[in-house]
Symmetry: C2
Subunit: 208 residues, 2 copies
DNA sequence: AATATTTATTGAACGATGTTCAAGGTCTCT
DNA sequence: AGAGACCTTGAACATCGTTCAATAAATATT
């Protein structure tokens, strides 16, 4: 009873890895079931024994990408300099670097859109983009007076802002920016946002 | 000699309008040449007399969307309160509102990706995302000491940051945020960025 | 060990889609 | 009115994701 399932499982991970590599090399639009089947050595139709959809396949690859991204941000979170300002900048740059080094896979996270009616499988709801939790800690240290909810909102805003700089920065559409320049811009703006948030918190008390 | 061309032109604008409406209603993925042909009353193949590609069609719709977006930002640029801070916030909120009200068309601007080899037609290079020029003026007033190039970089960074907040804020992927909450977050963060950039400019002179 | 039953795999076929093209129709100019 | 240029048509092609009846394999039963 094991023999069949073993083979199935091995094929399934082969499939997901092949899909990951194919997206990395040719983009989300370059993912083709027939090519995948040839790659892992099975018939075209057999793909649908391992996975119900290409949607599921893309989500599974997305899970892996999110996991690696999470690790990259975690590494940046706990590094030498514990100053919360510097930590936040390190995390932002780590996000930028990950996106640049995994461009197609990172894009796939945001490009993919399910048909409105289909609901996400439950194994996929867990890893649903909680990336901004990485910047919660340093923010909490910086702004000890703020509530959990306020901090959560600020964290999401900060993360989204950095995401936007990376997204448009790595795109052709808005003038190609060399990576080192982009990194510098990100560091500058993150610093500014932190300073600005701090100042605003103080000013509001003394009235302005 | 006019009769034929007139009809052609009328059909062409019909086609582009139909495409615009179809994207607005069903998203970029819902754009189908056969449906378009039926909509404007011609054969499927005739679409390719009016337009070389669906790529071109999408770009033409994108041009229109960019134009309307530009107008919306211009309106926000020149409004009652001339204070540059408030102007920048108004522009950011106008961007957010436009995206929310034209969700599918706005998404199409960023979702669409040409195959790597195909080059953009020249009529499309002009309106290539120069949206951040809208925030150049108020920034120049706020930071008169900075060079044109520095201001350009800052403008792009600020715009990208707001774009990120809107992009992730209107997405399902990162927790659905109610629009009023998103607008408040944007206003807060834009203010913070401005304050932070100003403070940083001062601090650097006095050393820190 | 032999057979029956359940399960997995195959690859041909289906439907949808963007795109092309030869055939036939329409328009324009002389 | 007729010749030549242009347009339009809809059938056909290639490429997808996806399905399914037939076949093969694995497992369960006797």
């Amino acid at each position: 009873m094991t023999k069949a399932l073993e083979r199935r499982e091995k094929l399934r991970v082969d499939l997901i890895q092949a899909a990951e590599q194919m997206i990395a090399e040719r983009g989300l639009a370059g993912l083709k079931t027939r090519d995948l089947a040839r790659e892992i050595g099975c018939a075209n139709g057999a793909v649908y024994n391992l996975v119900t959809d290409v949607d599921e396949l893309i989500l599974r690859v997305g899970s892996r990408t999110l996991l690696r991204l999470d690790e990259a941000l975690s590494a940046a979170e706990s590094a030498s300099d514990p100053s919360p300002q510097e930590t936040l900048i390190r995390i932002a740059l780590a996000y930028c670097d990950f996106a640049a080094e995994n461009l197609q896979l990172w894009r796939a996270l945001f490009e993919h859109r399910m048909e409105a009616d289909k609901i996400l499988p439950d194994w996929s709801v867990n890893d649903q983009m909680q990336l901004f939790r990485h910047i919660y800690q340093p923010l909490a240290v910086l702004f000890p007076k703020r509530s959990q909810e306020e901090l959560g909102i600020t964290a999401r805003s900060l993360f989204s802002a950095v995401h936007g700089m990376v997204a448009l920065g790595l795109e052709q559409k808005l003038v190609a920016v060399p990576l080192p320049a982009l990194r510098k811009e990100i560091a500058t703006l993150v610093r500014a946002m932190i300073d600005g948030l701090a100042a605003r918190g103080v000013k509001r008390i003394s009235g302005a």
